[in-house]
């Protein structure tokens, strides 16, 4: 009788343990399903953010294109007409003639500047010229101002990226160059593009006053300025690595690494 009770006690203990194991297995299965759900949710969120960003960029590009066309077709034409009118104006007074000539030169300069601006804003030009030529052109424009020295180097075998990627990269580089002009107080800017087997690296360095990046880096991406955040978001969109290094008095270095053969499909998966 006692041994039967002892056996019962053992059996009951085993039964409780089995129930316990069942509960733990249930927790594991539930957790794994929850993990799958969370992963899918995260993927959907990323895809949504990516689509949103892409739409924003498309709207931005369209706006830039419209401005560019407006400059080229309207303002440019009006100025050309004004220059033509001045060219055909004959005045006896030599002082007035001198002023007309100066005005003609000024209008000519304005036309050229607007043409350059129109070119750098227009998506079609960038797509037509390609990334490298566009960057070079942007640096040439900067050099022409005479306020800053520029250099542009390419190493490795040049490989072409898809147009969308090139456009986004160009906008990042353009933003970086504009940041140098606006904030860096630099005398020189170097741009280097390196092609490796599977990646393309872009380095943009200046010898300007630099800034302390530590407080920005520790506080996370949100605290970066709008320009840097835009660059970062654009880089994320094409699966590029983006980083900025700077110290007060030591200039700023921007680094971009782009996978050459990686594309992102409609579902946000990297191929």
């Amino acid at each position: 009788m006692d041994s039967e009770i002892a056996q019962l006690l053992i059996y009951f203990t085993i039964a409780i343990l089995l129930l316990g194991i069942f509960l733990i297995v249930f927790v594991i299965i539930y957790r794994l399903r929850m993990n799958n759900y969370l992963k899918e949710k995260e993927q959907t969120r990323l895809l949504y953010e990516q689509t949103l960003l892409q739409t924003q960029l498309e709207i931005q590009e369209q706006t830039l294109k419209n401005i560019s066309q407006e400059i080229h077709d309207n303002v440019g034409q009006v100025l050309t007409l004004a220059k033509l009118n001045l060219a055909t104006t004959a005045v006896d007074d030599s002082g007035a003639m001198e002023k007309i000539k100066t005005s003609q030169q000024l209008i000519g300069k304005a036309i050229q500047d607007l043409r350059d601006l129109s070119r750098s804003l227009n998506t079609d030009y960038v797509e037509e010229m390609g990334l490298l030529r566009s960057v070079e052109y942007e640096l040439e424009l900067l050099k022409k101002t005479g306020s800053i020295r520029t250099s542009f180097n390419i190493t490795g075998t040049v490989e072409k990226l898809d147009k969308q990627k090139e456009l986004i990269l160009f906008r990042i580089v353009q933003e970086a160059i504009h940041n140098v002009i606006r904030h860096a107080d630099a005398g020189k800017i170097n741009a280097t593009v390196v092609f490796n087997n599977h990646t393309m690296e872009i380095f943009i360095e200046d010898n300007g006053k630099g800034f302390d990046i530590k407080p920005l880096a520790t506080a996370g991406n949100r605290s970066f300025g709008l320009g840097i955040r835009n660059m970062h978001e654009r880089a994320t969109l094409i699966g590029a690595r983006f980083s900025i290094n700077s110290e007060p008095g030591a200039g700023t270095k921007l680094y971009l690494q782009v996978p050459l053969n990686e594309t992102i499909d409609e579902e946000g998966r990297k191929n």
Partner: protein, 217 residues
């Protein structure tokens, strides 16, 4: 020298050695206290066995002190991994009440030398509930977590099974302890196996934590 030690004692020693071996990985986490706790457990077990087997004296007084400490420690350790504020509060209230109750039971109501089964009853039930709290928090976690790679999941699972197994014979203790010599082999067999399970999962938990920390570094 320690010929009186049995398999479950070696598992306790193994858990202690694991916590010492992986100390540098667990020292930044709440699991670091497991090293001290395991040292305490091994010391209690060896002393208890020595009293019983070598000196043939009662070791009830020793377990009357160590058992409440165990429940207090495990309750505290689990609460370190809770996310729900209400669960943390429940455990904190329990820990304070249990501490006061243990003091009263030992020094006023039950006495130090008589084996206090009430600690087991309250403690094991509380541990089962707290482990359920942990599991609830664990499944509600808003980031993907792999259970197998989660150190505290191993420890909570071990604690849950240990206390679930223990709770049955502890609740029958009034009947069983009245004829202790008859039931001792069965209860010891169950208890020793549960101890093996508990300290095996604690060891795995420590190793998992070490792996996690190593990967993070």
């Amino acid at each position: 020298m320690f010929s009186f030690l049995t398999l479950h004692n070696y598992f306790e020693v193994f858990a202690l050695l694991t916590s010492l071996f992986f100390w540098r990985y667990i020292k930044q986490t709440p699991l670091r206290w497991l090293a001290f706790f395991m040292f305490f457990i091994v010391l209690v077990e060896i002393t208890g066995k020595y009293y019983k087997v070598v000196l043939h004296q009662s070791n009830a007084w020793l377990y009357n002190f160590s058992v409440p400490v165990e429940y207090l420690f495990y309750g505290w350790l689990l609460s370190q991994y809770f996310r729900s504020r209400i669960f943390i509060t429940i455990v904190q209230v329990f820990l304070v009440c249990f501490f006061v109750f243990a003091g009263l039971q030992l020094f006023v109501l039950g006495g130090v030398t008589t084996f206090n089964t009430i600690f087991f009853k309250i403690g094991s039930l509380a541990m089962i509930v707290f482990c359920c709290f942990y599991f609830i928090d664990f499944v509600r976690e808003e980031v993907p977590v792999n259970p197998v790679r989660e150190p505290m999941f191993w420890i909570a699972s071990g604690l849950f099974l240990f206390n679930a197994g223990e709770f049955l014979y502890v609740s029958l203790s009034n009947i069983l302890f009245s004829d202790w010599h008859k039931w001792k082999p069965v209860i010891n067999q169950i208890n020793n196996n549960l101890v093996v399970l508990l300290y095996a999962t604690i060891s795995v938990g420590i190793i998992t934590m070490a792996r996690k920390q190593w990967i993070q570094k």
